[in-house]
Structure formats: structure tokens, C-alpha cells
Symmetry: C2
Subunit: 260 residues, 2 copies
DNA sequence: GGCTAGATCTCGCTT
DNA sequence: AAGCGAGGTCTAGCC
């Protein structure tokens, strides 16, 4: 399928600049129908109601509607969208009479709504001015390959258990306890039960609490005076987390997800 | 400053469709210089190296470069970008000889790099085909107004402490302990110290661990046999969290951030 | 659908 | 710069 020359992309775009409201509505509706990725840039207000509720007065923003139902409203700042809707929403576009101070005007505004249920949530973007509408179609067959995750750290220990400590033997991953699944369950050189909690980066008090719950649960499960060791594995810990570890008789081993 | 008619937006856009590599490079560089919000859609590969590392083979994606240094790479699926760079990065755009199988070709590809330090991180997007380049300029003076947050829940209780329980008296918010700041610190009708942990939504085991740490820390701080009550306030709790509450002698009060 | 925990979490705040 | 916790977190996996 692939040749020496780059595969010519089948990607397409339809772009409108400064469109009239109705032309914008049509282009957006068409893009949604064609399952394109639709973007709209212009001056708009944004209202959200659902798990919480929010309002945002007029400003120039970039709106992205994805064919899977996701919606994103971006300002010129921040990595995160100022408003959004998760995948699974239904996008709708329409024209409304301008609901401004002068209701008698013949002007109309472009309205984009993204709605979902469970939970009921609605995002409404009203454009006073549309600067650009684009509808992108393309293909993306490839998934991202990521390394340096907690899963990599787990693999590293399973392949070389001595990294944790000499004589450590992993017996299970995701072993279930009354408090939830343990990252690595095993035993030490002396045959004592070991619970290992993995974190890909420096950890704070939360991770200690997690490990503590697993150790407590296992000590009950395994009956009586069973001694269960809890080991937190991470690149490093904060001071407060370290104090908590000591207070609760838990241990720490410094390891990173990947070697170097 | 604002009149009866909608303020004409000063927002502008420069759009190129199917640009030659060098024209794309120039438009993007110019947009970055002008502190515009720049978007590029086309077939690209993406490489990331930093806190973790990732690679992504060719596909059609939407790239957004923000003037604050943020970079986002979106596919047609998901609310989250497949790759990104946080605000504070430096964006750079250039043309490279096509690094494909046939190195002798005169073709060149468009390369966008976003780099930051602390931690050292680099994102590199290589476009085989550029379908559209846009550079948006606009203004956004307004901040979002959000309600239904934990802060709203706090205000609700401070204004009507009896919502927690009859006779409750708040004494401080964000009261510092050895384990961190407590959401609400107060005392009950009998004069006993009360620690309140707030959550805007249904909570699991984590929140119980948090409350537990605060109560433990205060019992040590306040000396000896001081009895400290810990109350978790949230709309609801999971079964496992409820069991943990009971096990550790903690209490639960059901409250939502806003009244209906 | 709910529960649990991870994430290159991001973001804001405080030290 | 680091620590800490909130978030409309989102997302994946499992039950």
C-alpha cells in the first residue's frame, strides 16, 4: 500500500472566511453530517450546564467539534479548553435571532449546541461574529506509542525482581484485595507477603494512603498475625510522604519507569 | 465602550490552503511572531520526549500553537490531545529535507517544534502534507464564571453551618495541620474539635484517606487524648469509601455544592 | 453503568 | 521551584 514516495494525503478541508450566518450554519451542519472535524473561530459567548454550570462573556475563541461528539472551546491561553464537552455528545448548529439588548434587530447569531445525557449536560456557544469556519476530513490509522509509564515500571520489576530487593518473587499483578487491586503482589526472601505500589513519578501523601489501604486489607484477609510488607516504588517521595511511610512501617524503593 | 449594536470584532484570520512548504513555514512563523493562535492541519508524524516519550506514525491531525507557548495535537477522536506541550514553550517552525526512505529527493517537510525546560521537554511535528494553515488574532478579556465547585459547597456550609449538623461552629478554613490544610475546622455543640473535608461530587477511598490524615495529624497536634471528629461532606460515597469511614470512626454528611 | 486508579494529567495557590 | 490538592478533570480497565 505504501510506496517510496509519500502517500498523497486524502485529507481535505472546506474553509469559509467571514461567512454570513446562514452560510456558516450550512457549512458546519454539512461538516458534522460528513463526520468531519469542524472548527469555528469568532467572537462568542459560552454557556454550560451539567455537572456544574458556567457562563463566559463575549470574546474571540476557537471551537472544535469532533465527529465522536467531543467539543472544545479554546481561548488564546492555556493548555486546557475554557469549556468543553466529552465524546458522545450530539452537535447541533442553528441560527437564532440576536438575543441582545435590541431584540427588534433583524440580525441573527450562529448557535452551536453540544448535548449529552448521563449525566445531562449542555454546552451552548453563541457567535456574534464568525471569522472562519473549517471542516477537515482525513484519516488516522495509527495509535501513539508511549513509554515511561507506570506499566513500563511494572515490566521492569517483573523482568528483574532484584531491582526491588534481593530475593523478591512476584506472584501476581493486579491482585484483588478488599481495598482494590494491588500493582504487584509477591513475597520476599523470607517468605513474607509483599505488596508493591508503583508510581511513575515523585509521589506525595496520596500514594502512601493507597499502599496503606492495600496492606491493611491484606493483613485482614490473610488472617491474624500475618506480617505484610508494603513497598512504595517511585523515583522519589516528598518529605511528608516519607514521614507517613515511616509512621506506618512502610518502605520505599527508588526506581524510574525506564533505565536512564 | 460597548454600544447597543454588537461590538464589531477586531478578530482576524490569515488562511492558506494546500500551501507549498515554504509558504506554510512563513505563515506559521509570522503567526507566532504576531502572537496569533496558529493552527495547522495535515498529514504528520509526532515525536515527544520529556517526562515520558512517545512516537506517532503518519496521520491527519490538527495542531494548535498558542501564543502562551502551549501546543496541542488533536486527532479526530477524544477530548484530549494525542500529544501536547504545556504553556511556556517556545515554538519554532522550519523546513527539513524529507527524511524518508529516499533521501535524494528534493522534497522537504514542514517541521514544528515546541520546547521547554524544567523539565526539558520537546515536541516535534513533521508534516508530509499541509492542508491548511491559519493564524487567528483576537481578543478575550473575559474570564469564565463557574458554579457548582467545592468552593460553593464551602460557602454553603459557612453561611448555614446547621446544614452540617445542629450546633456546628466553623472556626477556620484552610487551617494548617502537619498533614496539610483542612477545608473547614470547627467545633460541635459539645465543644469537640471537628475536621471537615469537602468534595463536590461522589467520593471514593481517596477522600477518606485524606480526611483520615487530617484527623490523625490534629489528634497529635492537639495532644494526648483529644477527641477529633472527622466529617466527610459530599453528595454521596461509594461502598468501599463508606466501609473505610466506618472502620476509622469517621462520619459522612450528604450535601451538594448548590441547593438544587 | 458504577468503581477504581493512572495521567507527559493541568491548574492554582502557597511556601 | 516544589508541594499539595481540586478538577465539569479525562481515560482505560474491570465488574
Amino acid at each position: 500500500m505504501s510506496s517510496g514516495t509519500p502517500t498523497p494525503s486524502s485529507a481535505r478541508v472546506v474553509t469559509l472566511e467571514q461567512p454570513a450566518v446562514d452560510a456558516a450554519r450550512e457549512a458546519i451542519a454539512d461538516g458534522i453530517d460528513r463526520e468531519a472535524l469542524v472548527t469555528v473561530f469568532g467572537r462568542c459567548t459560552v454557556d454550560y450546564e451539567g455537572r456544574a454550570s458556567s457562563t463566559l462573556e463575549a470574546g474571540d475563541r476557537h471551537v472544535m467539534l469532533k465527529p465522536d461528539g467531543a467539543a472544545l472551546v479554546h481561548t488564546d491561553e492555556g493548555q486546557q479548553p475554557v469549556n468543553w464537552q466529552p465524546p458522545g455528545c450530539t452537535h447541533a448548529v442553528s441560527c437564532d435571532p440576536a438575543g441582545d439588548e435590541d431584540g427588534a434587530e433583524g440580525e441573527s447569531v450562529l448557535v452551536i449546541e453540544s448535548v449529552r445525557s448521563t449525566p445531562d449536560e449542555r454546552l451552548c456557544v453563541r457567535f456574534q461574529n464568525v471569522v472562519q469556519v473549517s471542516a477537515f476530513s482525513g484519516t488516522d490509522e495509527n495509535d501513539i506509542a508511549l513509554s515511561g509509564t507506570e506499566e513500563d515500571l511494572r515490566q521492569r520489576i517483573l523482568e528483574e525482581p532484584a531491582l526491588l530487593e534481593t530475593g523478591f518473587t512476584p506472584l501476581a499483578t493486579e491482585r484483588e484485595t478488599a481495598a482494590g487491586a494491588v500493582d504487584i503482589y509477591g513475597e520476599d526472601a523470607a517468605g513474607r507477603t509483599v505488596v508493591v505500589e508503583l508510581k511513575r513519578r515523585r509521589v506525595g501523601p496520596d500514594a502512601v494512603g493507597q499502599l496503606r489501604r492495600y496492606v491493611d486489607a491484606l493483613e485482614r484477609d490473610l488472617h491474624a498475625d500475618a506480617e505484610v510488607r508494603g513497598i512504595l516504588v517511585a523515583p522519589s517521595v516528598t518529605d511528608r510522604a516519607d514521614r507517613l511511610l515511616v509512621d506506618h512501617g512502610l518502605e520505599f524503593v527508588s526506581l524510574e519507569p525506564t533505565s536512564e
